[in-house]
Amino acid sequence: MNIESLKLKKISALWIIVILVLFIASIVLGILMRLNQGKVIEQSPLTFYTNMTTHGLTMIGIWFAAGMVAVNYLLQRYVKTSYGVNLFAFILTVIGVVMLWITTYAGKFSTGWTFLYPLPFRDLGSESWSTPLFLISLTVLGVGWLVWSVSLMAQILKKYTLSQAFAWQHFKSNASVETPPFILITTVTLIGVIASLIAAVIVIILYFAEYFSHGDFVNDALLMKNLIYFFGHTIANEMLYLGLAVIYEIFGEVSDRPKWKMTWYISLAWNCAMIFILTAFFHHLYMDFVQPQALQIVGQLASYLASIPSAAVTVFSIVAAVYGVKVRWSIVNLLFFLGVAGWVIGGLGAVIDATISNNIMLHNTLWVPAHFHTYNAMGNVLFSLGFFYWFSTQYVDKLVLSKLTKYTLALLIIGGIGFLMAFYVAGANSIPRRYSTYPVELTSGPYLAKVGALFASIYLIAILIFFYNIAKRCFVILSASSR
């Protein structure tokens, strides 16, 4: 095996182990939150909100990174990627995450993962140094990820022209160069990622400008909210698309089915998706009536439109690949298939909430964590776990479905559904999100929180078993020598 590919394997294995360890720690924080809301344990509000902030930031960070790791690894099939940049991103991610945990746990920084302006400047109970350290840790992560995304993009553009990377030549009847779907999706996604990270950089600069001006410069709250949600919404959505790129690339080969070829409609769908996803974030500001009304309407239309290419192309293709044909089912494609189902169901919850006349009843209730946990915990996480399995079992020639694997999947599904249902029902019962404990009048809140904690623990058991299986093989890869 050549040195280059072994190095990439090792760094990917290292990423996977770190991601899974942080995942388990963050799930524990999630369960602690639900237990506190259920009055099973009693933590101070400050502790709850540091846990909440840490959980949200870490989860977003690791699953974004997981998507990037997978895409970087598979990109090697088409273009050369830089090992140095991958390592650089790894080091900056680790430093950034450690700094984040210091700001939240030693500095008591607790603004929620969206750090909505001007809360970081009026974050009661936190140390005064925690806000600048938080901004610095975001900068570290942002730089690491920006360099990584730009570097991957640059490698793609060395081989494909920009219009080829967007697969525009496929709109004509006889394309001379074929753009693999994986390259198109990666391109579209990286552009979204880069746009969102640039917005993050602007937000950080505006925060620092106000911080150092000692009151001379004050930001505009509406502009900051738009920028923050452009960043937050976009990165949270693009990380899902990274997962989809991986599915397009390996679903066929792990299932003994032909690989998807580029067609005009795949090209059209992803080009449209890129635009819709960059404007859908306006749905986070529906309840800000001072926002221009045209943008509110754009928010609802873009949110609706974003579902069309996903459903008509991606979901349709996966369903068509499976329907009525013998597929070699293994843990890898089962996780992919299940993840697509979770993604669709979470998407339904999202489209309902993205309807302005519903949003007024659901905005900032637990319906919001309900739907985004659906397409994360039962969607994107499964995409990445599927990739991790596939990656770690490359030395083994056959992926077999053991009894234990089947039971573990069952635990994951049962735990996941129960955990999510507790969120949805609470959301429909008008229980607010981000409440450390519920006002006595909201009687169903604590009860549903206990149900959520119970099922989340079942989900955690499944994840621990998956972790054992994946990490064990990753350690073998880490200790392998080049032969």
């Binding site: 101070s44 509000p45 400050l46 909100y49 607790s110 929620g112 302006y117 809360l119 009026r122 974050d123 009661l124 109970g125 505009d220 709250a221 509406l222 409609y265 309840m287 800000d288 009536f289 001072v290 309407i297 609802q300 239309l301 439109l305 579902s307 069309i308 459903a311 008509a312 192309v313 349709f316 369903v319 068509a320 690949a321 499976v322 329907y323 009525g324 044909v325 013998k326 597929v327 298939f337 669709v344 169901i345 339904l348 309902i352 309807t355 302005i356 006349s357 519903n358 007024i360 009843m361 900032n364 029902v425 429909a428 019962n429 008008s430 607010p432 409440y435 450390s436 006002p439 009048e441």
Partner: protein
């Protein structure tokens, strides 16, 4: 109860989705070795997409006009309530509120008349969410520093209404609340 219909509708969609994905999966388990799957894919894809676009179009056309920005927009409110928010309290008053020394008063709103809440914040972002006597969220708006959001509503049922903060504003967020009466 809009929330109940939302939940019902969602569960219906989830049910259909689950049956769909399970049956797709079962069809693969039960397939013969040499079956080739779906025929005429492009045509099916075309119809599926068209139906999806039509359904979403109908939904958008039906729901957009119901957006809160347009409700009661052409009427004149008979009552105006000023709402100031601060970590971690609400101030409600029939007179404008002084941000330097905010104070509120007991509010009684007549039913079946249009009321306008003029909502702002004196520090961070907050939420202004109105819960009816059965503790159901009936309307809401954000409270943003530097801006005033106008929320109009016509209460039909007299009783005690609660206000909760629905935008995370710090450690006191869950205890930030107020009440008013509809008479």
């Amino acid at each position: 109860m809009q929330q109940n219909s939302i939940m019902l509708f969602f569960m219906l969609l989830v049910g259909i989705g689950t049956i769909f994905f399970v049956s797709i999966f079962m069809s693969s388990l039960n397939a013969d070795k040499d079956s080739t799957g779906v025929k005429n894919l492009l045509k099916k894809r075309f119809w599926f997409t068209l139906i999806l676009i039509v359904v979403l179009g109908i939904f958008a056309a039906a729901t957009l006009p119901k957006s809160p920005y347009f409700t009661f927009a052409n009427e004149t409110p008979s009552t105006v309530i000023h709402v100031g928010t601060m970590q971690f309290s609400f101030f409600l008053s029939t007179k404008p509120i002084d941000p330097k020394s905010p104070s509120g008063e007991t509010i009684e709103i007549p039913h079946d008349q249009l009321v306008e809440f003029r909502v702002t914040s004196f520090d961070v972002n907050h939420g202004f969410a109105v819960y009816d006597p059965s503790m159901r969220l009936i309307t809401q708006v954000q409270a943003m520093p530097g801006y005033v959001n106008n929320l109009r509503y016509k209460f039909t049922e007299p009783g005690k209404y609660h206000i909760f903060c629905l935008e995370f504003c710090g450690t006191g967020h869950p205890v930030m609340q107020a009440t008013f009466k509809v008479i």
